[in-house]
């Protein structure tokens, strides 16, 4: 069920399109409320959205729009208040903490803005950490393929403190890919990087979608980063207000300007 959100000033009313093909994750009427009474804040207001398999989706929106909350709820990091959030066939709302942890461990990969790595472990150990936690044997060939893709070959025995910020994020990408999760959530993965390192990391994510058929959902406020995605979903005030297929940095920027203008005049 879609939730039409009229955005005056844009051509016609906007309704998110259903992606064709298989769906990796889906939110239906998903809402998230913090606090009670006077301090009650609606972070997500009946959001319905699908993330297609082997697709690279970016979630954008101004601060406080609910984009991070949406990601946290979809990734099983936060409890949902209403509606439904599914990863594959699994309904997250019905899972307890233990089951959510297991789901994250087995089906989801994460890339955070910073502090992705354990300083005590080497790059390689960080990459295989989720599988170590699960007690699974890493698929050696796959892991070396991933490492080769992100170009970390010579630095596997280094500890995070000996790596640059860009290299650390590449290790984080490799870690997310190594376990072959059903879906990878990335939260501002380039937020702390210079533009060149950022471009590299985004290139790897894009490549993983294309060559490895990985599903990636990325939260970002950077139009350039969003330009790497197949599709951009815009959030404002806890609702989905717009989406864009095959975006470029320029088209994303244009849309953002439009929201901005709208935001200022309303």
């Amino acid at each position: 069920m879609s939730h039409p959100a009229a955005v005056p000033g844009l051509p016609g009313s906007f309704a998110p399109t259903r992606t064709t093909g298989a769906v990796a994750a889906r939110a239906t009427d998903l809402s998230k409320v913090y606090g009670q009474g006077e301090t009650r804040v609606v972070a997500l207001d009946s959001v319905s959205v699908e993330f297609g398999k082997a697709r690279f989706t970016a979630i954008m929106g101004p601060s406080g729009s609910g984009k991070s909350t949406l990601m946290h709820c979809m990734a099983g990091l936060d409890k949902i208040s209403g509606g439904s959030a599914r990863i594959g066939d699994v309904e997250l709302g019905s899972l307890n903490d233990k089951q959510l942890t297991r789901l994250r461990r087995d089906k989801i990969g994460f890339i955070f803005q910073a502090f992705n790595l354990l300083p005590t472990l080497t790059a390689l150990e960080n990459i295989t950490l989720p599988m170590d936690i699960a007690g699974r044997k890493p698929d050696r060939e796959w892991v070396s393929a991933v490492i080769e893709t992100v170009g970390l070959g010579g630095r596997l025995a280094h500890r995070p403190a000996q790596l640059s910020g860009g290299q650390q994020q590449r290790v984080a990408v490799a870690r997310a890919l190594a376990a072959r999760p059903e879906i990878i959530f990335a939260d501002e993965p380039t937020g702390n990087l210079d533009s060149r390192s950022g471009a590299e990391v985004l290139g790897f994510l894009r490549e993983s979608v294309r060559a490895m058929e990985q599903t990636v959902v990325m939260v970002t406020h950077d139009p350039v980063a969003a330009g790497y995605a197949d599709r951009v979903v815009f959030l404002a005030d806890g609702r989905i207000v717009e989406e864009l297929h095959e975006p470029t940095a320029d088209t994303v920027l244009d849309r953002m300007r439009l929201f901005d203008a709208k935001g200022r005049t309303s």
């Binding site: 990091l77 942890t101 990969g109 354990l118 300083p119 472990l121 936690i133 403190a161």
Partner: protein, 850 residues
């Protein structure tokens, strides 16, 4: 800057609580000790002053030079008699003269066992006035003893022995048991009685018959008119005393002597306790230093900001030290209050166990307040001193750093070199100590131990790497990724891990050292007690007063006794060498002791035959057939002929002969011990008939081989358990330190923990990770401590075991394993709270935390 210190202190309340606890416990220990010893000392002083109340002069018997203490009848002879007492009574100013007879008397309890510590069991004469009262021993029930068959007891003894008025009381002075009718129960302030002894009262004639001779006294206590000059009176009394056989002391001098003696005794106890309190505080230093190091590294940006806006290095240092001083003061005040409670309850506990301290108010002297608070503050400030230097080194520019730089690990080079040198010196001293045999060199051993311990503490960060890695192999194998992360976390900051583990190490080094030395000694004494002894029973008295020879002979005739040999010890000097000579029954001695002749044989009964030990013979170059010029304690010389040389044996000592050789030189032949060989399987039933044959005295000790072993074991174990208890405080503080370190680490690693949770480590896995880190640190400390303890006790073993030829290093693996197990439990317990906190961290907030 003081305001900053104050703010900081209160901003980190929770974090500083563990540190405060470490200071608090140490100060409580110090304060408790000081208050306890002041209180008890004051109470004992008051009690003994009460006891001396009204004593102007005390006249005491002085034994004659070169004469035996007791005559052939076993009684002492004094020159204090009624005639002398009357002469003193006639001196101007004298109002009365008390005539005291004193000795020991031990009352048997319901099971025949002696009541009270036999050395402190007083027997005395009841001296009634016209109304039948003796002011020194106020009657509680009944009346004073007035006839030869009557006795009075103090309240506590009557209660303990279960005697009521009219009962017949069995007691002993030195010989066989005596029985008298209980006619009175009295109270007494006599410190000897209140501190674990007992009191038995007789009428004067009976007491004289028991201890002296009719008409004689041990002490004349002179009371004088108020205002009489004690010293002048003492001088006058001295004039009428028989020369050299009596001595007069003024009441004031006597009181002074007593209080000096009490102070000495008290000092020894409080010094021991203070040593342990010092250890506890020393352990606390590590925790305080750890906390301040962590606080300062967390606060480094804040400090850099202060520096950037113009605070000087010195101000930064001062602010940190002020924070420490404040923390020390607050903790010390609470610690002092806790110490007060500790002192009061310690006294109650000891009293309940029969310590018998006299009553008195709790004494809180200004000295104890000042020392306890002072020690708490000084220790805290000293411990914070190094971290404060570190704070001063923070550059103002660090305030501008936006990127979180990983804390740079300062090189351990200097520390390791210093540690290696100090440890080397310590080990060298201990290896030298290993070659020493005299207990006089104990100070060297202590110094060597201290140096080695210090060296290892400095080296601990270096040692942590291989040892923690080793432990990590096990945790990884057993617990997978949690175990692996735990190991990495423990290795992450070697200084912190080392300081935390060191706190535990100190306690365990001492516990292990004491245990190894104690149990080795015990084993040696065990072996010694049984070595060379083939008898099944050993009979002696608890006051070593000796056993009547005629009664002893009856033991040999008890059915079930195969052989009995008496031992009568004396010392002789032969060719300028002092040695022991045991007079015994030469026909039976071979059955109760291992007697192997190297050459010659036992003397044929006679008056001059002697057999000597191989050790003596070797030392002096004696051979069978040689004749010795022996001098006995009564200064009589006798020629003794060596008939044989036997293999060394602890039971037989340097030399043995027939009793007939020894007896002429003894004032009154008494058997020091009887050794009894039972017929097969009849040992168990023999104790009762033997006691009966020897007069059923409560002083009798009939011990089988197991009892002999137990006797030596009990002493060692008591000392060990008391030490464990006292060291327990430092272990508790060390545990607080582990909790502290973990709590801080969890706080520092908030983001990591959030990330681990996000990528799928369950709460239980996080808990396990923290728990295992704790266990690894605890085991590291315990392992180091146990290892060092074993080394130190090995090195000091030759010295401490000297004089015990059977001494051998005994490693009580069971008990050491128990220590490790305790460390393991300590690790798990210390992690409870931090692990819970880590597992409950809000994941999203944790990931976003700065």
């Amino acid at each position: 800057m003081l305001r900053t210190a104050l703010r900081n202190l209160f901003a980190h309340k929770a974090r500083l609580m563990m540190t405060a606890l470490a200071v608090l416990l140490g100060v409580a220990f110090v304060a408790g000790t000081l208050i306890f010893s002041d209180t008890v000392g004051e109470a004992i002083k008051k009690a003994s002053a009460r006891n001396l109340d009204g004593v102007a002069v005390s006249v005491q018997d002085v034994p004659a030079d070169n004469a035996p203490l007791t005559g052939k009848d076993g009684k002492r002879t004094t020159l204090l008699d009624d005639k002398l007492a009357d002469r003193i009574r006639a001196l101007p100013g004298v109002t009365s003269v008390r005539r005291n007879v004193t000795g020991t008397a031990t009352v048997g309890g319901p099971d025949g066992a002696p009541i009270g510590d036999s050395w402190q069991n007083l027997g005395a004469n009841f001296q009634p006035d016209k109304d039948g009262h003796d002011p020194r021993y106020p009657l509680k029930q009944g009346r004073g003893p007035a006839a030869a068959n009557e006795i009075a007891l103090d309240e506590a003894t009557a209660r303990a022995s279960g005697h009521k008025l009219g009962d017949s009381v069995k007691f002993a002075t030195d010989g066989p048991a005596l029985t008298k009718k209980l006619v009175g129960i009295v109270t007494t302030d006599d410190p000897q009685v209140t501190a674990g002894g007992s009191l038995a009262l007789f009428d004067t004639a009976t007491a004289q018959k028991l201890y002296l001779h009719p008409g004689q006294f041990d002490e004349l206590v002179v009371a004088a008119e108020p205002g009489t000059d004690q010293q002048a009176l003492t001088a006058k009394v001295r004039e009428v005393l028989p020369e050299k056989r009596a001595e007069a002391t003024s009441g004031a001098d006597l009181a002074a002597q007593q209080s000096t003696m009490i102070a000495e005794k008290n000092k020894a106890l409080s010094q021991t306790l203070l040593t342990f309190a010092g250890i506890a505080l020393f352990v606390g230093v590590f925790i305080i230093a750890n906390t301040f190091t962590m606080l300062i590294s967390q606060r480094s940006r804040e400090i850099a900001l202060l520096r950037a806006v113009g605070a000087s290095r010195r101000q930064v240092v001062r602010s940190v030290l002020a924070e420490a001083a404040l923390l020390g003061l607050i903790s010390s005040v609470i610690g002092f209050a806790l110490g007060l409670g500790l002192a009061v309850s310690l006294r109650a506990v000891l009293d309940a166990n029969g310590a018998g301290f006299p009553n008195g108010p709790v004494v809180i002297s200004p000295t104890s307040v000042l020392s306890a608070l002072g020690v708490g503050v000084v220790v805290t400030v000293l411990a914070a001193w190094l971290p404060s230097r570190k704070a001063a080194k923070i550059a103002p520019v660090e305030a501008l750093n936006t990127v979180e730089a990983p804390p740079t690990q300062r090189s351990l080079m200097v520390r390791n070199s210093l540690g290696a040198v100090i440890t080397g010196i310590g080990v060298a001293i201990m290896l030298y100590v290993r070659t020493l045999t005299s207990v006089d060199d104990l100070t060297t051993a202590m110094a060597g131990s201290m140096v080695t311990l210090t060296g290892v503490i400095i080296l601990a960060p270096l040692l942590s790497r291989p040892l923690v890695s080793l432990a990590g192999v096990v945790t990884t194998r057993l617990f997978g990724v949690s175990g692996r992360l735990a190991k990495e976390n423990a290795l992450r900051n070697p200084r912190r891990t080392a300081a935390t583990a060191s706190a535990l190490m100190i306690g365990l080094t001492l516990m292990t050292g004491m245990t190894v030395v104690g149990l080795s000694t015990q084993q040696a004494m065990d072996e010694k007690a049984a070595k060379g002894l083939t008898a099944d029973l050993k009979i002696s008295t608890s006051t070593y007063t000796g056993l009547d020879t005629a009664l002893s002979q009856k033991v040999a005739d008890i059915p079930g006794v195969e052989a009995m040999a008496p031992l009568r010890r004396t010392g002789i000097t032969a060719t300028n060498y002092s040695m022991t000579l045991i007079g015994t029954d030469l026909t039976t001695i071979g059955k109760v002791a291992q007697l192997d002749f190297v050459s010659g044989s036992l003397p044929h009964t006679g008056t001059d035959g002697i057999a000597v030990s191989q050790d003596m013979a070797k030392k002096k170059g004696w051979h069978p057939g040689d004749t010795l010029d022996a001098t006995f304690p009564d200064n009589k010389k006798t020629k003794l002929r060596i008939t044989g040389i036997y293999a060394d044996n602890d039971v037989l000592g340097d030399s043995i002969s027939a009793t007939s050789v020894v007896d002429p030189h003894l004032d009154r032949p008494l058997n020091d011990e009887l050794l009894v060989k039972a017929q097969d399987g009849r040992t168990d039933g023999l104790s009762t008939p033997i006691r009966h044959a020897l007069g059923d005295s409560p002083l009798l000790k009939v011990q089988d081989r197991a009892d002999l072993r137990k006797e030596s074991a009990e002493n060692v174990n008591t000392v060990l358990y008391v030490s464990y208890g006292l060291l327990g405080m430092s272990v508790v503080i060390a545990v607080v330190g582990v909790v502290n370190t973990l709590a801080m680490s969890v706080f520092e690693r908030t983001r990591e923990i959030g990330m681990l949770r996000a990528i799928g480590l369950a709460r239980s896995g996080i808990k396990q990770m923290v728990r295992l880190e704790s266990v690894v640190i605890a085991l590291f400390g315990a392992g180091l401590g146990i290892g060092l303890g074993i080394f130190l006790s090995w090195a000091a073993g030759t010295m401490l075991g000297h004089g015990l030829p059977t001494y051998q290093l005994l490693l009580p693996w069971g008990r050491l394993g128990l220590f490790l197990l305790i460390a393991l439990v300590v690790g798990v317990l210390a992690a409870l709270w931090p692990a819970r906190r880590a597992a409950r961290l809000n994941m999203l907030e944790a990931i976003g935390a700065q």
